[in-house]
């Protein structure tokens, strides 16, 4: 069998190739220029042009019907399209966040750019993958530059420590994932997801089921579901804030999109008791994420724990997709992830905006009296936090509502009760920064780093969150056309 690669297959990869070419421009310029950095604004512009071109080309490749390419290892359907568009969008925001951030050192800006684009390419591979080994390559291509991006930033100890912790636990998880792929391959003689799903005989084998469980454990490590979450707060706190935003939004989004692809395999688990365990994962994730955030004082750490809690809500949507109506639940999960991405990027943009130097850690007390000095930023931050908490007029409320209603439709009342309880709990720690900003006076003057780019990111995210209540209905109609043509 010779693999057939057609022009139609290659044309799917145009955004991918564009991103790769633009990723090497700044760093090649640096090398040709005698190892001195080109103009920072020029590099920034190059990266922005590359991202916009990728966005336009992806936008043109609208999906009519799902199709496989490159001998079945690549799938191109609505989920891929939505994933690619949102990942490029996330990268544009992160570019804005990183523009003037003190942890992104000016003499390493082109390296930063190259690594960020490499991560982005890994996310593309994840979105495209219809093959377990492809997904492994995607995860590695996404994680390896991230390990460096975390460590490259500061002259401080914590970023090195975070980088190493993420490296060890990330590689550990990848090795588990790969072992799972090997067992699945041994049982099914293929790693293509659609072939595996259609082969009922294989799915009953014990080797296959063991392999799938090990594979899923690897994925759960990467999204930090609760038994496997211990690395996340340390890494999110230690990483440079723009990179934290990238991890919290992009990495989670693509891995959950990939989990949605293998949800049809999960349906086979109704025969077996694995499900109960997954429900517990979701409950524990929501509960521990919310509980551990209660007594934190470091702002980034609070948002990191809240990110764990949100992972639990998304996972509840995925369990609903396995157990109940797949079509309804998938809207919930996708819409939740899109809104969550906006909220986290906005939050990390605000936090990053107030970090003056490399190892500056923002605490809750630093926010005191902020509303008097910077009323607009304080209002934006409050809106983003209220949205994360799920307070009605904001986007976060509608996202949570959709997840909860799909879970109710799938008869997961038990999970919904836990979800509601933990949401109520989470309001406490989301309100703490708001109370500090509005109710206290303080002499400590919190300086912002001069960054117009960051402000743009904050305002755009806040605006989208405020109007997302109106956007959610058109979004679902659009998703309906895209995901189920």
């Amino acid at each position: 069998m010779t693999p057939q690669v057609s022009w139609a297959d290659l044309s799917l990869m145009i955004p991918f190739v564009i991103l790769f070419l633009f990723s090497v421009v700044p760093i090649s310029g640096k090398v040709l220029n005698g190892n001195t950095e080109l103009n920072k604004n020029f590099n920034f512009l190059i990266a922005l042009v590359g991202l916009f071109l990728a966005l336009v080309f992806t936008g043109f490749q609208t999906v009519i019907e799902p199709r496989l390419a490159f001998g079945g290892t690549v799938i191109y359907d609505g989920l891929t399209w939505v994933g690619n568009i949102s990942v490029v969008g996330i990268a544009i925001f992160i570019l804005l966040l990183a523009k003037n951030h003190p942890t992104i050192r000016n003499h390493q800006y082109s390296e930063h750019m190259f690594l960020m684009f490499s991560t982005l390419l890994g996310m593309f591979v994840m979105n495209f993958s219809n093959d377990l080994i492809m997904s492994f390559i995607g995860i590695e291509l996404m994680s390896l530059p991230l390990y460096v991006l975390i460590g490259i930033g500061g002259g401080d100890k914590i970023s090195k420590e975070a980088s190493f912790k993420y490296f060890v636990l990330g590689s550990f998880a990848s090795a588990f994932l790969l072992y799972g792929v090997a067992l699945v391959y041994g049982a099914a003689r293929t790693t293509q997801i659609d072939n595996i799903i259609n082969n009922q005989m294989v799915v009953q084998q014990l080797t296959f089921q063991a392999g799938l469980v090990i594979f899923l454990i690897g994925l759960f490590f990467k999204v930090a579901l609760v038994p496997f979450h211990a690395w996340l707060p340390d890494v999110y706190q230690g990483a440079p804030t723009p990179i934290t935003g990238f991890m919290a939004s992009g990495v989670k989004l693509v891995i959950f999109f990939f989990i949605l692809r293998i949800v049809p395999l999960g349906q086979l688990y109704t025969q077996n008791n694995m499900f109960k365990l997954f429900e517990w994962f979701s409950i524990l994730t929501m509960a521990i994420g919310s509980l551990a955030a209660l007594h934190q004082t470091n702002l980034k750490r609070i948002i990191a724990y809240s990110s764990i809690a949100h992972t639990g809500y998304v996972f509840m949507g995925i369990i609903a997709a396995i157990k109940g109506d797949f079509q309804q639940s998938i809207y919930g999960v996708v819409a939740y992830l899109l809104i969550y991405v906006l909220m986290t990027i906005g939050t990390f943009a605000v936090i990053g905006h107030f970090e003056k130097k490399q190892d500056h850690q923002l605490n809750l007390d630093d926010l005191k009296g902020l509303a008097n000095r910077r009323p607009v930023l304080a209002a934006c931050f409050s809106i983003l936090l209220l949205s994360l908490a799920g307070v009605p007029p904001m986007g976060g409320f509608f996202a949570k509502l959709m997840i909860f209603s799909t879970a109710v439709n799938a008869d997961l009342y038990w999970l919904v009760v836990w979800g509601a309880l933990t949401s109520v709990m989470s309001v406490y720690y989301y309100l703490k920064p708001i109370v500090n900003m509005y109710m206290y006076k303080s002499d400590i003057i919190l300086l912002e780093n001069r960054g117009r780019a960051q402000k743009i990111a904050i305002y755009v995210c806040t605006f989208l969150i405020v109007i997302s209540g109106f956007l959610i209905q058109p979004l679902i109609e659009k998703l309906n056309i895209l995901l189920f043509p």
């Binding site: 100890k157 980088s163 190493f164 590689s171 090795a175 790693t191 470091n298």
Partner: protein, 105 residues
């Protein structure tokens, strides 16, 4: 020796899983950063062994191609791991994991 031991798929799988478990134990127990990196490599190579074994005994050549992918990725991972270890050594003056106490809570 007429009844020489016949080495089958299961033998390979047992060796592979043992290697994998040794790697897991190494990551969890050892305190030195370099040894942890070696243990991670060991885990990946254990997986390579089972890919190759499955590929041979199932008469399915795809598995051996995957081994090449994994080897390439393992090399990249080792390079990045050692680079991080060097950066850690410069900041902390040591590569023991007990030095990592700045982030907790």
């Amino acid at each position: 020796m007429s009844n020489a031991l016949h080495v089958g798929l299961n033998h390979y799988l047992v060796v592979s899983s043992l290697l994998f478990m040794i790697g897991v134990a190494g990551v969890l127990v050892r305190k030195n950063v370099i040894v942890i990196l070696m243990s991670i490599e060991l885990m990946l190579n254990a997986v390579n062994l089972s890919f190759a074994a499955f590929s041979h005994f199932n008469q399915e050549p795809g598995g051996q191609v995957m081994v090449f992918f994994v080897m390439a990725i393992a090399a990249a991972e080792a390079a990045i791991g050692l680079a991080i270890a060097v950066a850690v050594y410069r900041k902390f003056n040591g590569i023991e994991i007990k030095l990592f106490e700045n982030l907790k809570g």
